[in-house]
Symmetry: C2
Subunit: 597 residues, 2 copies
Amino acid sequence: MSYVAPVKDMLFCMKELAGLEEVAKLPGFEEAGLETAQAVLEESAKFNQDVLAPLNFEGDKNPSYWKDGKVFTTPGFKDAFRQLGEGGWQGLQHPTDFGGQGLPKTIGAACIEMLNSANMSFALCPLLTDGAIEALLTAGSPELQQTYLPNMISGKWTGTMNLTEPQAGSDLALVRTRAEPQPDGTYKIFGTKIFITYGEHDMAENIVHLVLARVTGAPEGVKGISLFVVPKFMVNADGSLGARNDAHCVSIEHKMGIKASPTAVLQFGDHGGAVGYLVGQENRGLEYMFIMMNAARYAVGIQGIAVAERSYQKAVQYAKDRVQSRPVDGSINKSAPIIHHPDVKRMLMTMRSLIEGCRAMAITAAAAYDAAHAHPDAEVRKQNQAFYEFMVPLVKGYSTEMSLEVTSLGVQVHGGMGFIEETGAAQYYRDAKILTIYEGTTAIQANDLVGRKTARDGGQTAKAIAQQIAKTEAELAKRDSVAARAVQKRLSAARVAFEQVVDFVAGGTKGNPNAVFAGSVPYLMLAGNVMAGWQLGRALLVAESQLKAGEGDAAFLRAKVTTAQFYAEHILSRVPGQRDAIVDGAESVTALALESF
Amino acid sequence: MSYVAPVKDMLFCMKELAGLEEVAKLPGFEEAGLETAQAVLEESAKFNQDVLAPLNFEGDKNPSYWKDGKVFTTPGFKDAFRQLGEGGWQGLQHPTDFGGQGLPKTIGAACIEMLNSANMSFALCPLLTDGAIEALLTAGSPELQQTYLPNMISGKWTGTMNLTEPQAGSDLALVRTRAEPQPDGTYKIFGTKIFITYGEHDMAENIVHLVLARVTGAPEGVKGISLFVVPKFMVNADGSLGARNDAHCVSIEHKMGIKASPTAVLQFGDHGGAVGYLVGQENRGLEYMFIMMNAARYAVGIQGIAVAERSYQKAVQYAKDRVQSRPVDGSINKSAPIIHHPDVKRMLMTMRSLIEGCRAMAITAAAAYDAAHAHPDAEVRKQNQAFYEFMVPLVKGYSTEMSLEVTSLGVQVHGGMGFIEETGAAQYYRDAKILTIYEGTTAIQANDLVGRKTARDGGQTAKAIAQQIAKTEAELAKRDSVAARAVQKRLSAARVAFEQVVDFVAGGTKGNPNAVFAGSVPYLMLAGNVMAGWQLGRALLVAESQLKAGEGDAAFLRAKVTTAQFYAEHILSRVPGQRDAIVDGAESVTALALESF
């Protein structure tokens, strides 16, 4: 089997770190307890391991291709997509009103991870559809919802996000696609959109494009952008498909990775205008798009964890199989599997601890999302919302940056074989590189972290989290194990560094924005590092307690303790240096004359 | 122009850091002063910029391919190879006795960098030939030398290194290829070699394979390995080419990068035995192979610098062209080229400072090589040899690991366009990943650093270098500039950390080898970081002095000061954390039970 879903670790994160039992007390999630979680995860594991995982390498070898305006996906994808819908996986987290399963994000996040470990190129299609569903649920009229949501949630139709244009990437103020109001209340859409994931394909009957455009006469900049539904095929009153809309795929990109996922250039309105339906109100498009983007950003963070996990599993397998050289400690007196070599262990532990740290961070953030949406107490909702929003750029930015490190090590463990495409390790390395770019580059996530998530409330949310970390440190300090002491030491130093950087960021955004933004990505990396390390510190506390009480799977728990210790000593130990670079090093970032580059 | 050779920085490194004027005092190098260096570099720049650089992307699109035992290289490669030979570039550093130019490595290293920036896939062919020439020069009989060297040095024939077999990668003890002695003094070679760079191609009339094999009855392990010359075509007594030898390419690999460079599987002896000529003495093959490998390892380090430089130049160009979003400091009141954004500057400065640091390290190491070979005083030779040998794993390991970071940032600066193959940034990212693997993975370099270069002399060489660094710190402390103070602070902390790690490594290899080797790669990264930072500290001293004296190119010198400061604040600042991980974190590297992975 090329992928085995880490169900045990996912359940541990849900139960012991994210408080799944608390989530299951929230109105609407009463049935989402541990038993449900376990059943769903096991079913999800089966589907992803058996159906999607074997198609991953195939998708890289036989990518989607474009011919005469149509896009043909990798053989097997269409059938897999049918099974995804039939299994109810597209509707997992969506409302039961429209046919979804209504499960909390705490559980959904783990299923999304599996989907992306199994086949990231494939998983992008349901990922984008999820975002489109979110936007319609929040801002779509009842009519739009009724027309589109049931078929999207059932996995019959797919959704897309149409933001980017050649001149408008991170800078949406530059969007030029225009929407002309029609007498019947619809709009005609004209323009070119690029980088549209699954903008055209053959897996679904219809594609629901969500498109940013400017209504005639709208203000300049981001305040004049509206959001439209532009279906590939018009939908008749009875729900059947009607005429082809004037939205056409003119080409797809030739990419370094995620090759099976078609990245389309879409032309809207070349033949008279594409019919579009306004979502919500005019000129509020960016706000709605952010709903999709925030869902998508979190999901891309999960993709980072997912591709890293797959890369790790492959590397472990190779390290156990490949025989080369004697262990340096003389424990084996002949050439041995390379996993016996300390540096191979170091690489695998680095991969493993980064993955487990990011997974713990992501699943605890998901629980906050659930509480922010479903908790009956407004104050609790607000606190959880603040926590979740703080975590989104970290889940997206840190987990994806770490996936570059992990998939690079994944190649490295394989030695020369890692560089040969048939081995498969290289695919993860190539695939992962998109993750730090799309749905907002790491720098865009860092701007969000600095501006909206830290400076805006004067660092209050960040400091509140630091307080919670200090409590974990206090718990760790009560333990007498070497591991707990090591984690306490590094976590404490890292948390202090985090607070110092928060002060620097919160204090400096107005006075010296260049200095603060020079350290924005390092701040994101530092904060993500601290948050992941914190969750592993919490995990260690639980694991030690259970081991002492003779509960649970001892081997799993001992591994958790070691992994937490490794993370603290080898990853958290990077934090003080990051602090130094941010706080002391701002000047040299921007000092070089432009012409000297 | 897609590549402009950084001649100014190369000459600065040679003159101000590596002491080119001293090199030019060595016997044999009397004409290799600054004037020669400048002339050679300018000529080299022309050839590489005009002829090789345009073929780089072409090679990625139209890689070498195999058909019926023959390998056809990218269109244009054959002619470029002819020009390489005619220009004398293959013979640059080789003895004039055999038709070479006899230039010092101090100058040669810069030319090798250019070659690899221009076209790494192409450059691998002369790189391997250089290694084969070195081995023949050191260990070949006069007859072998006379038969092969002139045509190799003139760039008419190429050379290969045949080490790896399917079961024998890093572990050469497992080599199985065998050599049967023949009555005429030749040997018949039988076996399979894999990963043979330019093992077959159409650019040269003949290919001189240097092959590791076991003579019948030789001892087990590495002590029974001998080295053979196995030419593709037999060479007649008059120097003309004779019969085809029984060495055939049965396939080439499908790789993630350096696609134009054919990586061959070679079958020796499938049709009765390949004729081989013993190099040197039986069973000393590994020793001779190390001559080739050490030359090749240094050159692979240069490849890291080279591909990073190319990636940097492309990223700078894009950052100056691409308009997106307003600068955070309000300095421009509309969307501006992204180089105005602090995080883009941070990425470019990271790339730039890593490149300049590694280049300075490599060129100073080259000067030590020259002194180690040509200095009349044995003691001076010995000291320089020790310094050079200490630096080789750092030049190889650190420069190539940094090339992964740099080429990843190179993609990142391009945003979504970076992931599109037509842009070209992705190629550098894919190409670079082989560099941390071939000619010994980073872990193999780190083993060398720990074992032969640090523990063997009890850390003496390392400590002697630390003493020199402390002298640079003292010089920096006399300066009153912000930049000098910043560099002094970080360099001093880093040097202290280096010494602590050296003590840890030198003290622990016997008592606790697992603990030491668990930190071997982190030690390599730390040491490389310190050495590069030290050279930039020296560069800063020179640049400030020249600026004060009103000498030199002020813009270049100011940029050097800023780059050194950036390196110290953002890269050297990683060192204390690396020390903590090595010295305190060994246990958690190897603690996990094997079955828990």
